[in-house]
């Protein structure tokens, strides 16, 4: 764990991973999109609208995984005071939020032709909406403090509180949804045709590889920005001394 506290080492590992994750992203997106849009069967009831599932479900999954990563990184940063862990959480947040947003929009577009409304208060969409709010709150805390060290710890506390609450929120929303069931709202539909599992898996893999790739770029950017701050501070002190 402490090996990763060194930014230089982390950057070196990241540089080694990057070409692989970038290549994987491209390959998985290419194959995933082909199978999602072209070479997979249509649904008996929804016809081609079911293809939206191939972005909606992976996006939901990555949105949740993103928050899990954010929570773990925040815990590491809080416990061991690793600045790189804090920055990883900060870098991961916009990516997770983006996937969550994609899940919401695609869910809305899926809901209109299949259920007749643009927004469906089913358990998944409602939970994802609240997850989106948690992401936005987390990113807002980083912006609210000038002192970045304090911002990191405040954001970490919020991330941990949020992650404790997230299962509770999800459970309560699911329970609430069953209470108000008119019909069985489930955008996932019934059992998934195995022929649909391949594009689903490929797209999920593509989103995950994308996450890693963009995370590396964002982390590099955050580390550089942190160094910039330190150097500028040193420069200002140096000018004062002369």
């Amino acid at each position: 764990m402490h090996r990763f506290a060194n930014p230089t080492r982390v950057l070196r590992i990241a540089a080694a991973i990057l070409p692989w994750s970038a290549a994987l992203t491209i390959v998985l997106f290419a194959s995933g999109l082909y199978f999602a849009l072209v070479a997979s069967p249509i649904d008996y009831q929804q016809k081609d609208a079911v293809r939206i599932m191939y972005v909606h479900v992976p996006a939901a999954f990555m949105g949740m995984m993103g928050y899990a990563l954010l929570a773990v990184a925040s815990a590491v940063g809080l416990i061991w005071r690793h600045p790189v862990a804090d920055l990883t959480a900060k870098a991961a947040a916009p990516i997770g939020a983006a996937f969550t947003f994609v899940c919401l929009v695609s869910g809305s577009l899926w809901g209109q032709p299949t259920w007749g409304t643009w927004w469906v208060w089913d358990a998944r969409l409602t939970s994802v909406l609240i997850l989106f709010f948690l992401y936005v709150g987390y990113m807002a805390i980083w912006q609210a403090y000038d002192d970045q060290a304090r911002a990191a710890r405040a954001a970490a506390i919020l991330a941990l509180v949020g992650s404790v609450n997230l299962p509770i929120i999800h459970y309560s929303v699911t329970w609430w949804n069953t209470l108000h069931q008119g019909s069985s709202f489930s955008l996932a539909g019934s059992a998934i045709d195995p022929a649909m599992l391949l594009p689903l898996g490929l797209m999920t893999g593509a989103f995950a590889a994308y996450f890693v790739t963009v995370l590396i770029y964002r982390l590099r950017s955050e580390i550089a920005q942190r160094k910039l701050g330190v150097l500028r501070l040193r420069q200002a002190e140096g000018l004062q001394a002369t």
Partner: protein, 66 residues
């Protein structure tokens, strides 16, 4: 897919399927570009700051030499 036309029509659901994939693409590509840009900007600023500090250090060393 029989014809290109039927592919784009998506069984009549084109108005939903393509925007869904389109928004996904827009958001993901947009985030990638923004992340790349901020990384490049920060690296460039860092490099120029390090260079200017190097120059100042070298200049002050030269100036201090008898």
């Amino acid at each position: 897919m029989e014809t290109l036309g039927s592919f784009f029509a998506m069984g009549g659901y084109a108005a939903f399927v393509w925007p869904a994939f389109g928004v996904t693409a827009a958001v993901l590509i947009g985030l990638l570009l923004a992340s790349l840009k901020s990384w490049r900007d920060n690296e460039a600023a860092l490099r120029s700051l390090e260079d200017s500090q190097q120059t100042r250090r070298r200049r002050s060393e030269r100036g201090n030499a008898p």
